[in-house]
Symmetry: C2
Subunit: 215 residues, 2 copies
């Protein structure tokens, strides 16, 4: 068991270090040699976990579509908002999630592995379709279109906010995005009960870790 | 004069070919050797116009913040919307504009040259500030915040729409973005007179070419 724990830790260390390299220098320039230098692991140890750089990139992208911290809420549209708020809180703190975005906008990596945006759009559409069936959305709001537009907007707000010279907080920027979009998607009575504040994600994640500690 | 025309044409040809290379293989992999092969020009001819690949990338980014097709309108907020609609029409048709986005999301190119997003945010903020002074915006709409959020959203909608498997039209996707955001930014009476249709940009550009033909 201890041996297995160590193996999982090493695998995570490889993923995180390679993700940081992708973030810093881009997919093409991130090499196994640089990874060896950064982790201090032998090539043998690396190749025990991953066959190649491509293999690591795929594993990074596999982590991208995550529901960690998500809990059932009174409104489905709240769960849809929570998905985006949780990711906004985590991306600046977790190199692997950040690298998944980086790989999606890199021409070579995108050609090799595609992106996880279609998956995100499908997940969002699922929540919004349920929300619509429950009468939470305005009649003209099309779940597929709203989901796709917000996945795009979310991504661009992240990219632009990290390029601006001011010190912008992604959780706040994404909160503003939802405030701009929600009144045109959600019925007014539901809107009044939706929490899109930048502090919500941190609270959700703390609740989750408390619950798992009890279990 | 004819000689000067030829020089301008050659410069444009270099810019467009290098822009296409940036789009296809990314900044790092786009080389002067590939450019020579693609254009059929000699290295001498290239270096007459640009000192280096970096120099070409800078020239590409200099073309990014463009007001081509923009005309004075009854509402300042219409001019702000027109900026985004015109760009959505042009980006899929003009490799140089497309490459400016590509370079902005490339980690190495971004480190070398920065991005033009802060310029776009400033331009948008200018239009929205004037719109606000004229009473076109809702009281809570902050020109700086709205401009930044929409520049981000615009960029991400472009990136995600070209990565989706469906054949999405950027002008339509951006039109949807404005329809989602405008009701929460613009007063209802002004909103009723704002055109954010996907066909508007093409019409504006045709009007412009007619006018310049007359001038």
């Amino acid at each position: 068991m201890a041996k297995q724990d160590r193996a999982i830790r090493t695998r995570n260390q490889i993923l995180e270090s390679m993700a940081s390299l992708f973030n810093e220098v881009g997919y093409d320039a991130a090499t196994i040699a640089a990874l060896v230098e950064r982790t201090g692991l032998t090539r043998g140890a690396l190749y025990f976990h991953f066959a190649s750089k491509e293999d690591i990139a795929r594993a990074v992208l596999d982590e991208a579509v995550t529901r960690e911290g998500l809990r059932e809420q009174a409104f489905k549209v709240q769960e849809w908002v929570d998905l985006g708020l949780l990711l906004a809180y985590r991306v600046p703190r977790e190199p692997i999630l950040h690298a998944a975005i980086r790989l999606s906008v890199d021409p070579k990596a995108r050609r090799l592995f595609g992106t996880r945006w279609p998956d995100w759009v499908a997940v969002g559409e699922g929540f919004l379709t349920e929300a619509k069936q429950r009468g939470e959305l305005l009649p003209h709001a099309d779940p597929a279109v709203v989901s796709r537009t917000v996945v795009g907007s979310w991504t661009g707000v992240q990219l632009v906010s990290e390029a601006m010279s001011e010190d912008l907080d992604l959780a706040e920027e994404i909160s503003v995005l939802y405030q701009l979009v929600l009144p045109n998607v959600v019925t007014p009575t539901v809107l009044a009960r939706i929490d899109s504040s930048p502090y919500r994600a941190e609270r959700l994640l703390k609740e989750q870790s408390r619950t798992s500690a009890v279990e």
